[in-house]
């Protein structure tokens, strides 16, 4: 690419978004997780030995055991790391202005990719170690899945 194309400057405001890409189904590993989002629950799995399994799967990533239990997270976690995207050519995001992507470490011991919303300026107002709580961002369209995002607490 020529190097003179413009990126997005940091913008003030909310980075909530109602037209995020939706999960696609049939996809048996993640179906129950997303059903949980419709119930306002952030669900994760554990194996019989208590190992946390996440992203959702049909087997324990420690033992291969297929007898997993579903649990509901408190939704509280910590920002492990993040980046503020200034340039994204993907429809929907490219109109959004600067926004964060982050890995969130949930208190129950699992790490998920998400975003941090509800800050004035994502460049200056998000930091590693920040405490955050999940919320489920409503999406446009009938029967769409709410998307779990995180807000500083």
């Amino acid at each position: 690419m020529p190097k003179a194309e413009g990126g997005s400057p940091p913008t003030k405001g909310n980075t909530n978004m109602a037209n995020r890409p939706q999960p696609s189904f049939p996809e048996p590993d993640t179906q129950h997780f997303w059903d949980g989002c419709k119930e306002g629950e952030l669900r994760y799995q554990t194996d019989p030995d208590g190992n946390v399994v996440f992203y959702p799967r049909g087997h324990s990533t420690v033992t291969g055991d297929r007898e997993l239990s579903w649990n509901v997270s408190s939704g509280l976690g910590t920002v492990y790391t993040y980046s503020v995207v200034r340039q994204n050519r993907m429809p929907g995001f490219q109109e959004l202005g600067a926004y964060a992507v982050a890995y969130i470490d949930l208190d129950e011991g699992f790490r998920m990719m998400s975003t941090v919303v509800g800050v004035d300026n994502p460049v200056t107002d998000i930091h590693i170690g920040q405490r955050v709580k999940v919320e489920f961002e409503e999406q446009s369209g009938d029967d769409s899945y709410p998307i779990p995002v995180f807000r500083p607490v």
Binding site: F25, E27, T30, P56, S83, V84, M90, Y103, I128
Partner: protein, 394 residues
């Protein structure tokens, strides 16, 4: 210790153009194979092993041999992103040592620039349903932001600074300005400034994904090339001095609950490669490291054992990297940052290692004897592969 001489790189070619409209990836692959064979003094019909990373239109295991018109007795289509070619070299060492083939090629062709493929900023949310896509696509992460998350965490844990990371771009550009093909690349791709750069230039370039600036990101070019792997018997009679593949290692790493994002798959692949080669990092003259971004190099310098985890900032400040500085020398062709990045740069790491060990680089390190080529495929902050290859002069 005595190093075994089981397989060598006998011929190389780097496609000279970074903007090549009207040429197909397959044409780049075939043209590069012919020229790499010419470089070795070998013939088209000599090829009995074919490695491919599934690039090109109608290539891969079911298409490439047919397109080229060869009948290899060994086919390996390992595709692990930008590290594919280090894996191919690793497999060639194994396969040639086992007598499975004697003259093998790997080729690469890409028209990413002409096709205007937004590799770093196009988003990763397309494609069908998968367990991982379903968990990540809603957030609009880009390839660059994934690497940037590693940079943020590295800065947080170890105090690494943007100024330190910028030195990687500065040293690499210095090398690029000595490489006529890199200068033409930057010119043809309309770089704002085709000249040496300073740390300030890097810091003043716009941020693409915090904390990575434009001048910490590789270019998107057309391009390609080829390498010819041969047995010791063949290596005795080639046109130029062989460059020996003396060790290789492979690994993968991915997002894990509680995992350390600042350590890459290279921390596993590099010790395996050094162990097989019987060498230590302090013996290495040339480090050809996949510079998709400044942070990729920084993490790999640590994982390849040139300094301890977390100490790369100080290592950089101590004045390494440029070919005219003492100590380890980095990416003497100009790297992906300033010479050539059509999407999977791993091949060029092997090619410039060979040039250095033959004494043919445009930023030649006198008496270079040992090089390490380390490719990273995929996403440094997510699922990725590391392929490490140790190469020795004849």
């Amino acid at each position: 210790m005595a190093q075994e001489r089981l397989a060598a790189i006998a011929g190389i070619h780097e496609y000279p153009l970074r903007v090549a409209p009207g040429v197909s990836s397959m044409q780049i692959k075939a043209d590069s194979m012919k020229r790499a064979l010419d470089d070795a003094g070998l013939d088209w019909g000599d090829v009995d092993g074919l490695y491919d990373a599934l690039d090109g239109e109608g290539g891969g295991g079911l298409g490439l041999a047919a397109y080229l018109g060869i009948k290899p007795r060994l086919l390996d289509t390992t595709q692990v992103g930008g590290s594919s070619y280090e894996f191919h070299a690793s497999h060639a060492l194994r396969d040639i040592a086992a007598g499975r083939c004697n003259v093998a090629v790997t080729t690469y062709g890409s028209t990413a620039a002409s096709m205007r493929v937004p590799i770093g900023t196009g988003g990763m949310g397309r494609g069908g349903a998968s367990w991982q896509q379903n968990m990540e696509a809603p957030y609009g992460g880009t390839l660059i932001s994934n690497y940037a998350m590693v940079a943020h965490r590295h800065m947080h844990e170890y105090g690494t600074t943007t100024e330190q990371l910028a030195q990687i771009s500065v040293a690499t550009r210095k090398h690029a300005m000595r490489n006529p093909e890199a200068v033409k690349a930057m010119t043809d791709l309309q770089f704002v400034k085709v000249d040496e750069i300073t740390v300030e230039d890097v810091l003043e370039s716009r941020i693409i994904a915090d904390p990575l600036h434009l001048l910490e990101c590789c270019m998107i070019s057309d391009g390609g090339g080829a390498a010819v792997f041969v047995s010791p018997e063949i290596a005795r009679d080639i046109k130029k001095k062989p460059v020996w593949i003396i060790g290789a290692g492979e690994a993968t790493k991915y997002r894990e609950n509680g995992g350390d994002i600042t350590t890459s798959a290279g921390a596993q692949s590099a010790p395996a490669a050094y162990g097989q080669a019987g060498v230590t990092p302090d013996e290495i003259d040339i480090a050809m490291i996949y510079d998709s971004f400044s942070i990729t190099v920084a993490v790999m310098l640590e994982d390849l054992g040139f300094c301890a985890k977390g100490e790369v900032g100080q290592f950089i400040e101590d004045g390494h990297l440029a070919f005219d500085q003492p100590g380890l020398t980095l990416n003497t062709d100009g790297g992906g940052l300033s010479s050539n990045h059509p999407g999977m740069r791993g091949l060029f790491l092997l090619l410039e290692s060979v040039r250095q060990l033959r004494g043919e680089s445009t930023s030649q390190v006198d008496g270079a004897k040992l090089a390490v080529a380390h490719g990273n495929g995929g996403l440094l902050g997510g699922t990725h592969t590391g392929g490490t290859v140790i190469l020795a002069a004849d």
